[in-house]
């Protein structure tokens, strides 16, 4: 028997439970008696908590007062935000000189400027921009934050960084407006875009040399007052430590992961031992080792400041965790990709850099962001070994004479700051994940 449908089935509107608010409520919150009871209980708990917080933290709170006593006088059971407000600069910048705060802010702005092109459409060579952020920006920012006399090495790095920042920015503007790269555009302006490749390259080299000369001249005339690292603190210090940790974690982790998969036994065993050693010890132990035991192994008279020791410890620690993330990412790449890379004649580094890593990094992004969030939070451990990072600062509010005993408000404020930063990062990573998996389905 043959059944043939002659009319196409017309589509009908969805049942009400799928489209209206009432339908949704009914389906998800009140579908059975038990569900309805649970929903009501939860609503009641939420109501009580939110109302309590509101009364304590907003309605009855004191915003302006000169000390804790005055807070009590105004409102005995409201929050005393006045203390937090008075300490806000300390919480964010530590004891960094108040007249020099612009340097920290400028450093942050420069980072935004440096990295913004990564998110702009039509900008090319984003890998280079990313790499330069990791390898050059820290020197520029480092000098900006620390100041003082520049060693020759610092002079060179600051020059490179300044030229690179200018180049990046110009490149990004040109990219967004025309979709071209900076070198192409320069060559077109000079009418050399049809010239043979060697001429083009030489022209670009001359331009680069000129830019470096200008950059060098500019930086010689630029000196900042010294701000010793012991004055760095607060959120600023937290971001410096975790920022450097994050920036070194990825390259370090990639190298360690490749080492662990190497065919050469010495390299493999050493990488594995290193990774396992750091991963089997808590960060706080690593920090104590770095600050108390590390100097014992150093030659006489060789003194590293505590901040550098901490940064090295955090970087190594995070690199080892990152190495495992990278290794997992590498394992997701099928063998056929390696074989295809071999058959088009790529060597080991070409294969890794052009074929394997770009794909593996995509798989790894959620995990990478996850470890970054973890690192940002873990960094607060440095307050235990006596650095005044944000947590250290939040806790010193209660040691300050006028605000003695003020614990809750500063810590709550810190929690909110961390919550905002971390949830923005994890939202972004989820967004990336969706975007990239859409990309994979292409």
């Amino acid at each position: 028997m043959v059944v043939v449908r002659t009319q196409p089935t017309s589509s009908r509107t969805a049942p009400l439970s799928e489209t209206t608010v009432i339908g949704w409520l009914h389906k998800n919150l009140f579908s059975t008696v038990l569900n309805a009871v649970l929903t009501l209980i939860c609503l009641y708990i939420i109501y009580v908590v939110v109302k309590g917080l509101w009364i304590w933290g907003v309605a009855d709170a004191v915003w302006v007062a000169k000390d804790r006593r005055e807070c009590f006088d105004i409102s005995i059971d409201g929050a005393c935000w006045a203390g937090v407000i008075q300490w806000i600069d300390n919480i964010f910048y530590g004891r960094y000189p108040r007249t020099e705060l612009w340097r920290v802010n400028l450093g942050g702005l420069l980072l935004v400027l440096w990295m913004a092109p990564l998110w702009l459409p039509r900008v090319r060579a984003k890998i280079f921009i990313g790499l330069s952020t990791v390898f050059l920006y820290p020197f520029l920012a480092g000098y900006l934050f620390a100041g003082g006399d520049k060693s020759l090495f610092m002079q060179v790095m600051v020059t490179l960084a300044m030229v690179c920042l200018a180049g990046n920015t110009a490149h990004a503007i040109i990219g967004v407006s025309s979709g071209r790269g900076l070198p192409d555009t320069l060559l077109r302006w000079l009418g050399k875009d049809q010239a043979p490749e060697a001429t083009q390259r030489n022209t670009l080299l001359v331009l680069l040399a000129a830019a470096l000369a200008v950059g060098y001249a500019l930086q010689t005339g630029w000196t900042e007052e010294v701000v010793p690292w012991s004055k760095w603190g607060g959120m600023f210090l937290t971001l410096v430590i975790s920022g450097i940790g994050i920036a070194t974690a990825l390259p370090g982790g990639i190298i360690l992961a490749l080492g662990r998969r190497s065919k050469m036994p010495v390299i493999r065993v050493m990488s594995t031992a290193f990774i396992e050693l750091f991963r089997s010890v808590p960060l706080i132990t690593v920090l104590f080792m770095a600050t108390t035991m590390f100097p014992l192994f150093m030659p006489e008279g060789f003194v590293l400041n505590k901040l550098v020791q901490v940064i090295i410890a955090v970087s190594l620690f995070s690199a080892c965790y990152m190495a495992e993330t990278v290794r997992a990412g590498l394992q997701a790449i099928p063998r056929g990709q390696y074989e295809a890379a071999h058959t088009i004649g790529l060597g080991y580094w070409g294969m890794m850099g052009l074929i394997v890593m770009p794909q593996a990094l995509k798989h790894m992004i959620p995990n990478i962001v996850g470890s970054f969030i973890g690192l940002l939070k873990d960094t607060t451990l440095v307050s235990i070994i006596g650095l005044f990072d944000i947590l250290g600062m939040l806790r010193s509010v209660s040691q300050d004479v006028p605000w003695r005993g003020l614990h809750k408000e500063p810590l709550l404020f810190g929690a909110v700051v961390f919550f905002v930063v971390c949830s923005v990062m994890s939202k972004y990573s989820r967004h990336l994940e969706v975007k990239l998996s859409a990309g994979a389905k292409r």
Binding site: P334, T343, I344, G345, G350, I355, P358, K362
Partner: protein, 263 residues
């Protein structure tokens, strides 16, 4: 081999084989752990020759051709490709890999790159071809495999047959002297098999040296100068296609042919 001069059967491509030897295998042995995968393989391939390799699953066909470009390492015997002895010397391996293109059953295109980038990556990075030139060549090969309009798509946006044609073009972009195919059509739907085989037949027409692992008997009859039958790591029988299919000698060959001709 019973005779070297081909009897021209209808539809058979004229042979382009010369007397110049381009691949030579001498007593090649390969083990995977304790498992003996290739046993004393002797094989001489002439320039321009088209060889189809067939045989039951696990007989060592893939292993054989993967040894030729060192995706697998053999333990005993000599492999000489394009006059170069394949040994541990990385320079030799690189040289041979540049002369030998390979097409896989599962395409193995680079999913994060567009079709055009897939094609130009090799020439730009390993042959140091200028980008514009590489792109021009890539477009030429894409036209040859009949999908120039797909140049800016990503592999995931193409059908299996299109992907495999891109993979062929990618190999051709390296200007190889030899092309190896490992079951290029067995992951494809029937209607796509033909479009890939057509491209391969055209390639054979240009005089490319080809070694093709395939069970496409029609293709073997049209294109091959020689059919090799492998079983349990041995080359059991080799012959020109007409004789191979109509007059198999070895009982294993007869059994195998009767099995694949059943469907």
């Amino acid at each position: 081999m019973t005779s070297t001069d081909t009897q021209d059967t209808p539809g058979q491509l004229a042979s382009a084989a010369s007397t110049e030897v381009i691949i030579q295998l001498n007593k090649v042995n390969k083990w995977y752990g304790a498992f003996h995968a290739l046993k004393d393989i002797d094989l001489v391939v002439h320039k321009g020759e088209r060889i189809v390799v067939c045989g039951p699953s696990g007989s060592g066909k893939s292993t054989l051709i993967r040894c030729i470009n060192r995706l697998e390492e053999h333990q005993e015997g000599d492999i000489v490709v394009d006059g170069i002895l394949l040994d541990k010397n990385l320079k030799h391996i690189d040289h041979i890999r540049r002369e030998v293109g390979m097409v896989f059953q599962s395409f193995n295109l680079f999913p994060h790159l567009t079709v055009l980038e897939n094609l130009t990556l090799g020439p730009i990075w390993t042959r140091k071809t200028p980008k514009a030139e590489a792109q021009e060549a890539a477009m030429k090969y894409l036209t040859r495999v009949k999908i120039p309009e797909q140049a800016n798509k990503y592999p995931g946006q193409l059908s299996g047959g299109q992907q495999q044609r891109v993979a062929i073009a990618r190999s051709l972009c390296m200007n190889p002297k030899i092309m190896l195919f490992d079951e290029p059509t067995s992951a494809l739907d029937p209607e796509m098999i033909k479009e890939v085989l057509d491209v391969m037949i055209e390639l054979a027409d240009t005089g490319m040296t080809m070694i093709v692992v395939s069970h496409e008997m029609g293709f073997a009859k049209t294109v091959a100068d020689r059919v090799i039958f492998m079983d349990e790591g041995d080359i059991v029988e080799q012959n020109e296609p007409f004789e191979f299919f109509n007059n198999p000698q070895h009982p294993r060959t007869k059994l195998f042919l009767s099995q694949i001709l059943q469907h």
